[in-house]
Point group: C2
Chain length 464, copies 2
């Protein structure tokens, strides 16, 4: 097996030389409308999976389409005798394309478009999320195979077809296939760059606990003229609960809410402080200017390394035109908590419920619906693999990657840790303006090209 520095240089040269062929393959995959949420596209989802199986078999992987109660999962294994194995995760399904009339080009006819600033972009549904990203990895493997005949590390791929519809069948699939998916490390390519010039490694993903809260007061809607001032109003009760959750400094007051929350290491905070995330550049584009969260935290902490409590929906009483002097019998709120570090979703659910119950008047009651959750994912900031990947990215981009926390959640990453014992290395090349989930989704040609080169380097680095 040859994974020397000389090999890497030849691999990178091959990536450059074969870019047009790589693009052709990506365009073929992008042409398949694998919309997982719409039953009408069930056969197309299967066709996208089958396309990947055939492409990976062509690369020498042992690949198959695994049935699930939903769309199939693609798995593929290399067997070349390398000293360690990594497991790559991505998804081949895409979001729906509505509203179609807002697309400038047909969503499943990928185009290479030159933007006004001269940059080339691959425009198609799935270009950035996530077909373009998974093909950066597969093309890197292809170049290694072509140049060296083998990969620097053994690779297992698991490509699902239900990420956009909630990955419902993936956790049981992972649990049932522990042996086949065994590896030292998971690689995930479904995240973004810090900006066009700066690569990023996502070292934490927030977890999520969500819950629907229903406050019941009187057993029927009441006339406010007759009962106003005497009968409990569930809209007042639920407003009081929500208002009590945060203190004047933006801190969550629920006892136990911050249990097990780890402090971000000082050196990471120092690095974050240098990233230049300001209220002006982060909140300005959405019409806001003042961060709403904990006053003693940097903005970047608020959106990545701190837990949150948010109301996502709330309703009750009369919501039509004009006025109706009713005191409703129930009020409802949908809440969600972003979780960090070692927070246990069930513990958070319990302390949230206790906090709410303590605020329900004696003659009223509360009902909880949901209370599901996923743990946050945190990669140790000083793992050797992280350092290797960081160096590989620095070599490619001429700039050290930022290690960032992502505010969102990729619940499956928690399952990799829990079911497979694998830490995840999250590296991706999408940009903030890629319009994922929206019309005219695009992936910069640079993201694709340098993304392939980045993975070629990372595979090399992880072997050494």
């Amino acid at each position: 097996m040859a994974d020397t520095k000389a090999d890497l240089d030849r691999v990178l040269a091959t990536v450059d030389a074969d870019l047009d062929a790589s693009l052709e393959r990506l365009f073929a995959l992008l042409a398949i409308p694998s919309i997982s949420t719409d039953p009408a596209y069930k056969a197309e989802c299967r066709r996208a999976g089958q396309w990947l199986v055939e492409d990976l078999e062509g690369l020498g992987f042992t690949a198959k389409l695994n049935e699930t109660p939903g769309h199939p999962v693609v798995t593929a294994r290399s067997e070349g005798g390398a000293p360690r194995r990594v497991m790559f995760y991505g998804h081949y399904d895409v979001q729906p394309v509505d509203p179609l009339e807002l697309w400038n080009t047909p969503p499943f006819e990928a185009q290479l478009v030159t933007a006004e600033d001269g940059r080339k972009r691959i425009v198609a549904r799935g270009s950035a999320d996530d077909k373009g990203q998974i093909m950066t990895f597969i093309e890197a493997c292809r170049a290694w195979k072509k140049v060296a005949g083998a990969l620097p590390v053994e690779v297992t791929l698991m490509l699902e077809g239900e990420e956009e519809s909630g990955s419902l069948n993936l956790p049981p699939f992972v649990a049932a296939n522990r042996e086949a998916l065994a590896a030292d490390l998971a690689l995930v390519c479904d995240t973004g760059m810090w900006d066009r010039e700066t690569p990023a490694i996502t070292v934490s993903l927030r977890g999520l606990m969500h819950e629907e809260i229903v406050v019941h007061c009187a057993d029927r809607d009441l006339h406010s003229g007759y009962y106003g001032g005497a009968a409990q109003n569930p809209l007042h009760v639920i407003a009081k609960i929500i208002a009590d959750v945060h203190d004047a400094d933006g801190r969550v007051t629920i006892p136990g809410f911050y249990d097990n929350v780890r402090e971000t290491p000082d050196e990471v905070k120092q690095q974050w402080a240098g990233l230049g995330m300001t209220a002006e550049n982060f909140l300005g584009p959405i019409g806001l200017s003042v961060p709403s969260g904990e006053k003693d935290r940097m903005l970047i902490e608020l959106v990545s390394s701190r837990p949150t409590f948010e109301v996502n929906g709330m309703w009750g009483g009369y919501t039509g035109a004009g006025s109706k002097t009713v005191i409703p019998s129930i009020a409802t709120a949908k809440i969600s908590c972003r979780l960090v570090a070692d927070q246990d979703p069930l513990h958070v659910r319990d302390v949230v419920r206790a906090f709410i119950k303590a605020r329900i008047p004696a003659d009223c009651r509360v009902e909880f619906r949901g209370g599901e959750g996923s743990r946050a994912v945190a990669v140790s900031h000083d793992s050797p693999d992280l350092g290797k990947a960081a160096q590989a990215l620095a070599d490619e981009w001429g700039k050290a990657p930022f290690t960032i926390g992502a505010g969102g959640s990729i619940p499956i990453v928690g399952h990799f840790k829990k079911q497979l014992g694998q830490d995840s290395l999250l590296v991706g090349f999408s940009l903030d303006d890629d319009r994922i989930h929206s019309p005219n989704e695009k992936y910069d040609l640079t993201s694709f090209h340098k993304g392939i080169r980045s993975w070629a380097r990372i595979l090399h680095a992880l072997a050494n």
Copy 2:
């Protein structure tokens, strides 16, 4: 003109003797489906008004149907030379009858039904609200005319056809007909008894100020994974506002909210204390047990003589099935304040708006829609007419009437004071179980019979 005690006795005897004929006339009026909110019944509303004009003309009144942009207003005047004049108000329109399948008998075919407890009830839409009540007054006039040839006091009637649809055209009608409607006192028969044995005079009606509040934060809906913890959530902002409105003792904290609120006289409070309104008997039937309002007030004060602030509707964000981790851009609440005594709706609107504005984050904004209002109506507790009516009711029922405050609002009563300079005497005979606005509306035969006798006595009493 004869209005001696002997005349009254003969009038009451006539009422008793003619009860069947009185019922027949009421049933004829109840047979007309004068549903004012449904344009399909426009002609029927007119027919009900016309029926009343003809009936009143038959009694010697000068009656007419007055056009408005909506349904016509019936007016009628007696001219017999009595020393003073009163103006009686009621309405001939009724609520819709849906759901029709819940009626045990056709809603516009009035029936005299004997209930399980042996009491006789007039069952029909409008029996209690308000055709049965206005006919108690008209039949009392009829008996006086029959016995004495004249009324003890001159009477003007104004019977509208749009009370159930908001009385939109009545205030301008009143303003345009000040001379024709001139009188010493307004009589209103659209309220209820305290209970089956105890008559009541309603001495106050709460006013109303209602408003829709829209809180705007970001200029678009946000993903809570990306912005959660940093971007203002309008659902949190509106919850905080609502929560701040009441302190732990149930008192409204809005500065200026209680300006001009008059304290109920001690003697009235003492009377109220004896009425036996308890949390158990008032809140028990609706599934509650603990009064929610000001802790240092009697329950009866809370629902009649104290101002309130209630949220009637509130909504924002995702309200569908499952969860969606959105931070919405706007949140809305519909609020209403019941007003008492000398509270000015515009002042209350202003202090409420100032309170809300002070709680809007610097980078968010609030929009107010509505802010309309009507003043409360309070009758002096020691007016001579009130005392006369109270004695008349005590003579009829064998029990002194309770002078009560009604929690609801009858805005037109405010216009009588403002436009016509008339205090209102609110006497009615409906009962809590009359199911007004619901299927199987009824009016006890006792309410009708003794209601006629009561008005016969009151007309006599007001002349002396």
